[in-house]
């Protein structure tokens, strides 16, 4: 028996160490496609469209990685994962990158690597317009519908206590129950992450009678995740995100990319790989930003198309504006 356990333990050790040493970039190149973990359906972030293609912000990030590596945004396979099972496949090497609206927290960062923030989310409130409330600070004495067993409840308690306001929480087991309760008038306000508020709003029978308040009361930075112990792959995925952000900052979009390639501006020339070998240093091709922007778009385009005001969700950029426009999206320079 002892020997059996020993053999099993050895097999486990070999298996685990084998994963940690893996050169993910090489594996991806050899395989000819990227395997990307996304959610099983989250409006605007990853959901299949009518033709069965995955679309959304998280999905487009994966396409951007594929575009950077293969110059082809279609060379990506999506593995739709449930929230509670999302990390196992990443750990076991079933997927190369997890792009599944995952909140960056210290405990998760201790085990995995977060490459950055694709979307700054946070908890917010939705109320009826008839209430004539313009700010969450006017919600004193309100009853609030929330999903039980999530951090939502805790954030809510902290916020109301910090602002010396009274509230009554009406908690439900699932998101669907919660929004139904809010709609039937069981409570004055509905709270969850802002991105979720916008998608739940679409399910209300009179969506225009409701308004989402401007306050965001918690930090939910959502970002793609990779395994620890593969620095090169970490850099590659990180600089795909930074490339998209830098492209927006320098005004290079999928429409203007051909003119940008003739630009004399040194920053643009460095970013597009016309000067220097910044891509190669990272393990990416020299023109990786050109590939991303041409095939998928810059950060702003991806945001607007999937969740922004030109999409069904209609989320305003808010914190996700570039730092030059009053937001906090900021990428290190390509130099």
């Amino acid at each position: 028996m002892k020997r059996v356990i020993g053999v099993l333990g050895l097999a486990l050790a070999i298996g685990l160490s084998g994963q940690a040493d893996a050169q993910t970039l090489k594996t991806v190149r050899d395989r000819g496609s990227l395997v990307c973990g996304v959610s099983q359906g989250l409006p605007g972030f990853s959901n299949p469209d009518d033709k069965g293609n995955w679309t959304g912000l998280d999905v487009d990030f994966c396409r951007a990685i594929a575009a950077a590596i293969f110059n082809d945004p279609t060379k990506v396979k999506f593995t739709p994962l449930a929230a509670k099972d999302r990390f196992e496949p990443l750990r076991s090497g079933e997927i190369d990158v997890l792009s599944r609206n995952t909140t960056w927290t210290s405990s998760r960062d201790a085990v995995f690597n977060f490459v950055g923030v694709v979307y700054y989310d946070g908890q917010g409130f939705m109320v009826r317009k008839a209430l004539k409330v313009n700010s969450a600070l006017e919600l004193n004495g309100a009853s609030v519908c929330a999903q039980s067993g999530t951090t939502t409840e805790l954030n809510l308690a902290d916020y109301f206590r910090a602002n010396n306001m009274k509230y009554e929480i009406v908690a439900f087991g699932t998101a669907d129950e919660t929004i139904k309760a809010y709609e039937s008038g069981r409570c004055d306000a509905f709270t969850t992450d802002v991105s979720q508020l916008y998608s739940e709003k679409l399910k209300l029978s009179n969506a225009n009678d409701h308004v989402i308040l401007p306050e965001v009361i918690s930090k939910e930075p959502l970002g793609p995740v990779v395994r620890q112990g593969d620095d090169q792959w970490f850099d590659v995925v990180k600089w795909v995100l930074f490339g998209m952000l830098n492209a927006e900052e320098l005004g290079v979009s999928s429409k203007t990319i051909d003119e940008a390639l003739k630009s004399k501006q040194p920053e643009i020339r460095r970013m597009l790989g016309l000067d220097g070998t910044h891509g190669e240093q990272l393990g990416l091709p020299r023109d990786w930003v050109v590939r991303i922007v041409r095939h998928v778009g810059n950060y702003g385009e991806i945001f607007e198309r999937n969740v922004g005001t030109s999409s069904r969700l209609g989320i305003s950029r808010g914190l996700n504006r570039l730092w030059t426009k009053g937001g906090i999206q900021y990428a290190p320079p390509i130099r």
């Binding site: 099983q40 359906g41 605007g44 069965g52 739709p80 090497g93 069904r312």
Partner: protein
């Protein structure tokens, strides 16, 4: 002189029974309003049925929206009346519900598989159809192999379609079919093994059965999909759907074996002894005397397991395989179709599909049972 006695020469034509005891009114009076309690039960049931049926009909047909291209067409603001089911949503996603992400230009392969399967299955189910043995060999032996090559491709000039692109009803049916075909023989072997007189074999079967019955299917699926890669070398990677199929077959086989063992135990000892006395060996005794009787007894139990398996397939969603319900849930997330009625419409559609299939299976099983039990009163 006339006789004082009267002897009737013919029978009087029988008069009709009183109007109150024949026909629909009598049936109504006797069965539905026979007593005060009966009448009360009838009225209450009728009210409950009306309360259930009328809103369903309204939702599914009268208030339903039949045409449209996006969520806007299914909103109350647009149609200016209460909205029932949003059928254009189902129409837009229908291909995904049926085939998942199977490439649209290859969907004919799935349909062809269905047609071949039906052509082989239907005569097998009709007792009077000829060539039963050949038919069974084709359906249980040749068809799974043919279906495998047809669906997976990569041979005979068919492009390869990865199982990760499969989904919807296709996956539900593939898992159910593989589960049924795999679990019955496995279940028979395990049941025989558990009743065997060879101690090692018996213990092995007991441990195997109890292990798989003691572990929830979700755990089996999760372990097979995410934990096995830790233990197996890189080159041994099995297809995710294949891993799930193996897990489901082993799991269903353990349950099936207990159902079949129940049948074996119901066969009187005399049957075994009589078969022995005729000089039959173990396998001949089992194949010609014991199993035919035992399996007949456990048909209801087996069908129960099949239906449970059919519905259990929805659990594969947790290992990132989208069955019908998984595709449905993914479709709910499309902001282009998010409306107050989208979720209700989707579940109504899935419910109808699951009901039709389960109902057909159970009805057919009832028919088989009645046919087989001629002359035997249970």
């Amino acid at each position: 002189m006339t006789s004082a006695t009267f002897v009737r020469q013919q029978l009087i034509a029988p008069s009709n029974p009183p109007a109150s005891s024949v026909g629909t009114p009598a049936w109504l009076r006797q069965k539905l309003f026979g007593s005060a309690l009966n009448a009360a039960a009838t009225v209450i049931s009728a009210l409950i049925l009306a309360a259930l049926i009328w809103p369903t009909v309204r939702f599914m047909f009268i208030d339903a929206v039949w045409d449209g291209s996006s969520r806007v067409d299914c909103l109350e603001e647009t149609v200016k009346r209460p909205v029932g089911a949003c059928w254009p949503f189902i129409a837009a996603k229908f291909a995904q519900f049926m085939y998942g992400f199977y490439p649209a230009d290859q969907v004919w392969r799935v349909n062809l598989t269905y047609v071949v399967g039906l052509v082989l299955l239907v005569p097998l189910l009709i007792p009077r159809a000829p060539w039963k043995t050949l038919n069974a060999v084709l359906f249980f032996g040749v068809f799974p192999v043919a279906a495998f090559y047809l669906l997976v491709g990569g041979r005979f000039g068919l492009p390869h379609v990865e199982t990760r692109q499969w989904g919807g009803l296709l996956v539900t049916l593939v898992i159910t079919f593989a589960g049924i075909i795999g679990s019955v023989p496995l279940g028979i072997l395990l049941a025989l093994g558990r009743r065997s007189s060879l101690p090692l074999l018996r213990w092995f079967c007991v441990v195997f059965i109890e292990f798989w019955r003691g572990v929830p299917l979700i755990t089996v699926l999760f372990f097979a999909t995410y934990m096995l890669p830790f233990f197996l070398p890189e080159s041994w990677k099995l297809d995710p759907l294949a891993r799930v199929l193996i897990g489901v077959i082993l799991f269903a086989g353990a349950y099936m074996s207990e159902v079949i063992r129940g049948g074996l135990q119901a066969i009187p000892r005399g049957q075994f002894e009589a078969a022995r006395a005729l000089g039959l060996g173990y396998w001949k005794m089992m194949a010609f005397v014991v199993l035919p009787q035992a399996l007949k007894i456990v048909i209801p139990g087996m069908v129960n397991s099949f239906i449970a398996l059919f519905k259990d397939t929805t659990l594969v969603l947790i290992v990132a395989i989208f069955d019908l319900l998984g595709q449905l849930r993914a479709a709910f997330a499309d902001p282009n179709w998010a409306t107050p009625v989208t979720v209700l419409t989707g579940f109504a559609f899935a419910g109808v599909i699951y009901f039709i299939i389960s109902f057909v299976i159970s009805r057919y099983a009832l028919y088989v049972e009645r046919r087989l039990s001629t002359g035997v009163a249970h």
